[in-house]
């Protein structure tokens, strides 16, 4: 009997030990798992309808999903620059809307401090929706569906502020949760392969985590593009957008400084950089090594890092966003 209890205790201790042995100390990990953000369901419903409503644009031709395709393009549009109304072309590459709520500011130059401000920017931008709130409200306020949806959400009825807040609320639900890497961080050691773990190790070793860290693997600081080598000497640009954060602060130190993009859906959202210049992920990592780290990263290490990056997309609406095979993103 004693033997039996001793054996039982041994098994239990063994199991406990195995759990302890596989769990990571999150406090020392640069990347953190994504957690759900609490939202108001009524506001989310209204925001979702607005997100897909083309009447937000001047000529009723485009909606938010026009540049942020949730189904086929990882929340972006796979274009170098997106097209707005009347075929107008934007000045920078559209980032993914997935996990945008985790970014500390919006747009490449961080000119919008919140998601609400970002909605304002896109609606009024001449190269995007080219509309204004007076025009939008004239179109949407008579809509009985909106009147019904807005009633429990907005005290004043459907107004500009209500629209901004509702779309932002909906965007807070656009999170890619429970990625294989997040599972790994939570202690499921077998959630990622040895190759992918090696890639993560290299990702940290090369110092990519100096910028790409936190829940969103980026999106929480500004960084100069060309810390170690001058990117804009190699790719000169007269475009005002290439001045980055300087356009917001006017500070010389902020020239060519951009918000560090999230790498959560990087495998799904080519082309890369603010100017959408690079189509391939390996070339992008190579360029990052040169301009940001001052290092030449061997091809084999690049391949491992890419393996790691494939573990980052999570699940949206019960469906994994991770491409089935690498290279088929």
């Amino acid at each position: 009997m004693l033997k039996f209890y001793a054996k039982l205790c041994g098994v239990w201790v063994g199991m406990l030990w195995s759990q302890v042995a596989w769990s990571l100390d999150l406090s020392i990990e640069p990347i953190q798992p994504i957690q759900v953000i609490n939202t108001n369901p009524a506001k989310v419903s209204l925001g979702k309808k607005l997100f897909f409503d083309t009447r937000l644009s001047h000529d009723n031709s485009i909606n938010c999903a026009h540049c942020h395709d949730l189904t086929h393009a990882g929340g972006a549009d796979h274009l170098k620059y997106s097209f707005g109304v009347e075929g107008r072309e934007g000045a920078v590459n559209s980032p993914t809307v997935f996990n945008a709520a985790l970014n500390f500011s919006q747009f490449w130059d961080g000119r919008a401090a919140t998601l609400e401000e970002q909605v304002n920017g896109s609606v009024n931008n001449h190269a995007e929706m080219a509309s204004n709130w007076e025009e939008i409200l004239r179109k949407l306020q008579p809509d009985k569906d909106y009147q019904k949806l807005a009633a429990p959400v907005c005290k004043q009825g459907l107004d500009a502020d209500c629209i901004r807040r509702s779309i932002a609320e909906y965007e807070k639900t656009l999170l890619t949760l429970d990625s294989r890497f997040d599972q790994y961080l939570r202690g499921h050691e077998s959630a990622i392969t040895a190759e992918e773990k090696h890639g993560y190790h290299l990702f940290k070793l090369y110092g990519c985590v100096a910028c790409h860290q936190g829940r969103n693997v980026g999106g929480n600081l500004y960084q100069v593009l060309g810390v170690m080598a001058n990117y804009f000497d190699d790719f000169p640009s007269n475009d005002k957008a290439s001045l980055g954060r300087f356009n917001v602060t006017g500070d010389e130190e902020d020239k060519h400084k951009f918000k560090v993009p999230s790498l959560r859906l990087v495998v799904l959202t080519p082309p890369y950089f603010h100017d959408g210049r690079i189509e391939k992920l390996d070339e992008t990592i190579r360029s990052m090594g040169k301009y940001q780290l001052g290092r030449q990263i061997p091809d084999q290490d690049i391949a491992s890092i890419i393996h790691f990056l494939y573990t980052l997309p999570g699940i949206y609406q019960g469906k994994s966003l991770e491409p089935v095979k690498q290279g088929q993103e």
Partner: protein
């Protein structure tokens, strides 16, 4: 009385409740400001905590206790959000705005420093970690610099341990080692030497930017302000309480006063009731009067508008209807000038401007406009009166549109009638002249014919006789035109297809045209036949074509035929009321591109002797009109100066298509010499002489009579049988017709040949009940008379 008391009581109760509400509201206000006070303090304290938290996060990151920026970013974000909240809570406390702005400025500096810190720290750490590996890589690459590289790297590490060692920094930056030409090394060393200070600097800025101090200052001033507000509120509260007490005392006084007043006034109540009933009666009377006056305005068929300097103050239903409005409000308040046609608007505006100087405007005819834009005419008359010390105008408007239209139509009708009568009288005149002239021509022609028969062919006189005969022929032609105009010309009616008629005449027409003028034919080949005198219709076509030819120097004339339907109204414009019925017509149209005619000329073209040509006699178009009238047809003319003229001759389409008998009546064609006695009846002695001579030359015995009565006598008393009577129509005592009737009574088989200048159809109509042997047209030639006489005998 009781009612008034209740109302007063109610008012007092309401006022007391109001006072209670104010007191409660004051308590609430105090309570809410206390809650606000707590909220603001909590927010400020939270902001201080967040400031400290962000600083702590920076230190933890620097010391590698945490490896991501999420916590620092979150605390910075919350710091900014906290500022929004504080702003929202204190935005209505003006005195705190400058302290708040200071806090906001320090938070902005702190945020900026934190952002710089995040950017620089990652770069610095990367270089620190990579530097040893990089030096090893360089030693492998440049073994000759192994020692120098090691010393250099040791100095770098030494500097990292003692960042204040300026000498060492100088040594490192001013070193002339060749490997320093490698840009990556230069960049890494630059980062290692400078970014440490930058990171440290960012932390110092974040720590020393004064966020916490400024929040404390804000908090302190908020407390001061709050205390001050409390004092003020207390004072206000006391003041309000005092006011309420005063109010209550005053209300009590009022209540007492009201009670005494009610008692006093109750005495006069009955009198007041009487006065009230009297007043009510008067009001009732006035109301009835007003109703009557209003009804009067409502039933007036003419529009009545009251305006003040053009602004409509009142409009009766007739006015509203007149202008096409639906209700009174649509007209009242509008400017009346809106309803005046632009032609009259300036005049009316002038009258409105001048209205201060006059008190009456005479009856005027004005053109007004309805709401739908339609125009109508009114007779307007205005009178001014004074209302509330201001001059206003009442204007009476009578719609005279229909009356004007009727007057216009009546005038046009009168003019048409006059023209028709003029043409009629001219026709009678022309017919009379032509008749007498015809008789004279008969004499001349007969005598000349007789002379011609008595003269040997070789005689030179024959030539002059021939000329005389030609001249009389022409004179006879002229006579025929005059008769045609009067509708009494010679007339041989038969079924004619006008297209064929024109085609037959085409060659003749083309020859008579100028060289530069071409004729285009647009002819209906299956045109139905019409009952007409072929030669007269030919004359019309020739006349129209000749006129078209003369109206232009070059161009084309279009000649069309066809069938059309013409309404009664259209016919009214085309005929001069000679009574043509509406229906289907066969038409011949001649259209030129000539000089055209103005309306004045158009009105006269059918007048006899009116001509625009130098050589014309002015009878062509008159004859055309006469022929058309005789055929019961119509003539439509359209002309425009400079563009051309189009004549359309319309002839009634006889759908029964009964071929009419040719006139003269069928006569035997036996032209052999016959014998017998002829009774010659004519009031003109000269005609009798000539005809007698002609008949005798034919070998006939001739009896003569100078009127109908004598003819009957001669016929009765004649010993020899009279084979034929050549009877004139117009005679004194007994005319041709009466004579014919008398002769028929004597001998129903009597053979009578009527000799007349009028056309055969007219004669036929006159003698429709009887059978005529023949009709001979004056003036007649010997051969023609002979043919008829021989065929009748």
């Amino acid at each position: 009385m009781q009612n008034i008391t209740v109302k007063w009581h109610l008012a007092v109760v309401v006022l007391i409740l109001l006072a209670l509400l104010i007191i409660m509201r004051m308590n609430d206000f105090h309570h809410s400001s206390e809650i606000n006070y707590q909220k603001i303090h909590a927010a400020l304290e939270h902001e201080i905590r967040l400031d400290a938290e962000s600083e702590l996060n920076m230190l933890m990151l620097l010391n590698r206790h945490i490896y991501h920026y999420d916590q620092l970013t979150a605390s910075t974000h919350r710091l900014q959000q906290g500022m929004f909240k504080i702003d929202h809570l204190i935005h209505n406390i003006a005195i705190l705005s400058k302290y708040f702005e200071r806090v906001q400025a320090s938070v902005d500096i702190q945020t900026h420093a934190i952002n710089d810190f995040k950017s620089d720290l990652g770069v610095l750490i990367n270089s620190q970690r990579y530097f040893a590996t990089f030096i090893k890589m360089l030693i492998n690459q440049y073994p000759q610099h192994t020692m120098a590289l090691r010393i250099y790297s040791e100095n770098v590490y030494q500097y990292l341990l003692q960042p204040d060692d300026e000498h060492l920094k100088k040594v490192l930056t001013q070193s002339d080692e060749k490997f320093l030409d490698i840009p990556e090394l230069t960049r890494h060393v630059h980062i290692l030497l400078t970014y440490g200070q930058r990171v440290q600097g960012s932390i110092e800025v974040a720590v020393n930017c004064g966020t916490a101090e400024n929040i404390q200052k804000l908090s302190k001033h908020f407390d001061m302000q709050y205390e001050h507000d409390l004092k003020v509120q207390n004072l206000q509260k006391y003041a309000l309480k005092a006011m309420i007490i005063l109010l209550l005392i005053y209300l009590s006084f009022l209540a007492w006063r009201v009670v005494s007043l009610i008692q006093e006034k109750s005495k006069n109540h009955n009198e007041l009731l009487k006065v009230k009933s009297q007043l009510e009666e008067k009001v009732h009377d006035l109301s009835k009067l007003e109703q009557r006056l209003r009804k009067l305005f409502d039933v007036i068929p003419d529009a009545v508008i009251v305006h003040q300097y053009g602004r409509c103050l009142f409009a009766n239903p007739a006015a509203i209807k007149m202008y096409g409005h639906k209700k009174n409000d649509d007209l009242v308040g509008k400017n009346v000038l809106k309803y005046i046609h632009k032609d009259d608007r300036s005049q009316v505006a002038q009258r409105i401007r001048d209205s201060k100087q006059v008190d009456r405007v005479p009856l005027l005819l004005e053109k007004h406009v309805r709401l739908d834009g339609s125009i109508f005419f009114v007779e307007a008359q205005g009178v001014s009166f004074e209302e509330d010390g201001k001059q206003v105008w009442v204007v009476l408007l009578h719609d005279v549109t229909q009356r004007l239209q009727e007057e216009k139509e009546s005038l046009a009708l009168k003019s048409a009638m006059e023209h028709s009568q003029r043409l009629e009288s001219l026709g009678v005149l022309a017919g009379g002249i032509a008749h007498d002239f015809n008789n004279l021509l008969s004499v001349i022609m007969g005598n000349v014919e007789l002379i011609k028969h008595g003269v040997t062919p070789s005689n030179e006189v024959k030539k002059y006789i021939g000329n005389t005969l030609k001249a009389t022929d022409k004179a006879a032609g002229l006579c025929q035109q005059m008769l045609a105009y009067s509708g009494r010309g010679q007339f041989i009616v038969q079924a004619v297809q006008l297209t064929s008629l024109i085609q037959d005449t085409a060659e003749l027409l083309q020859v008579s045209m100028k060289k530069n003028i071409t004729i285009h034919y647009d002819l209906n080949e299956s045109l139905p036949r019409v009952q007409v005198d072929q030669s007269q219709i030919q004359q019309i076509i020739l006349n129209l074509m000749t006129n078209a030819n003369e109206s232009m120097e070059s161009g084309s004339i279009v000649c069309r035929t066809g069938v059309c339907h013409v309404s009664h109204d259209a016919l009214k414009d085309m005929t001069y009321d000679w009574g043509v019925e509406a229906g289907d017509f066969v038409f011949v149209e001649v259209q030129d591109q000539g000089c055209g005619m103005d309306q004045k000329t158009l009105n006269k073209i059918f007048d006899p002797f009116f001509t625009t040509k130098f050589t014309g006699r002015g009878l062509g178009m008159s004859a055309v009109l006469g022929i058309v009238r005789a055929h019961h047809g119509a003539l439509d003319v359209h002309s425009e100066v400079g563009k051309g003229t189009c004549f359309r001759l319309l002839l009634p389409w006889d759908k029964t298509n009964n071929p009419s008998e040719n006139m003269p009546l069928d006569v035997k064609t036996d032209k052999g010499r016959k014998q017998g006695t002829v009774l010659l009846v004519d009031d003109e002695a000269m005609i009798r002489d000539v005809a007698c001579q002609m008949l005798e030359n034919m070998g006939l015995k001739v009896l003569q009579a100078e009127d109908g009565l004598e003819a009957v006598e001669v016929y009765q008393s004649s010993d020899v049988p009279i084979g034929m009577v050549l009877l004139d129509m117009t005679m004194p005592k007994m005319d041709g017709k009466a004579c014919f009737v008398a002769l028929k009574k004597i001998n129903p088989d009597v053979r009578v040949v009527i000799s007349s200048g009028y056309h055969a159809s007219e004669i036929q109509a006159e003698f429709s009940e009887y059978s005529l042997a023949a009709v001979v047209q004056k003036p007649y030639k010997y051969e023609k008379l002979k043919d008829i006489v021989m065929s009748v005998l």
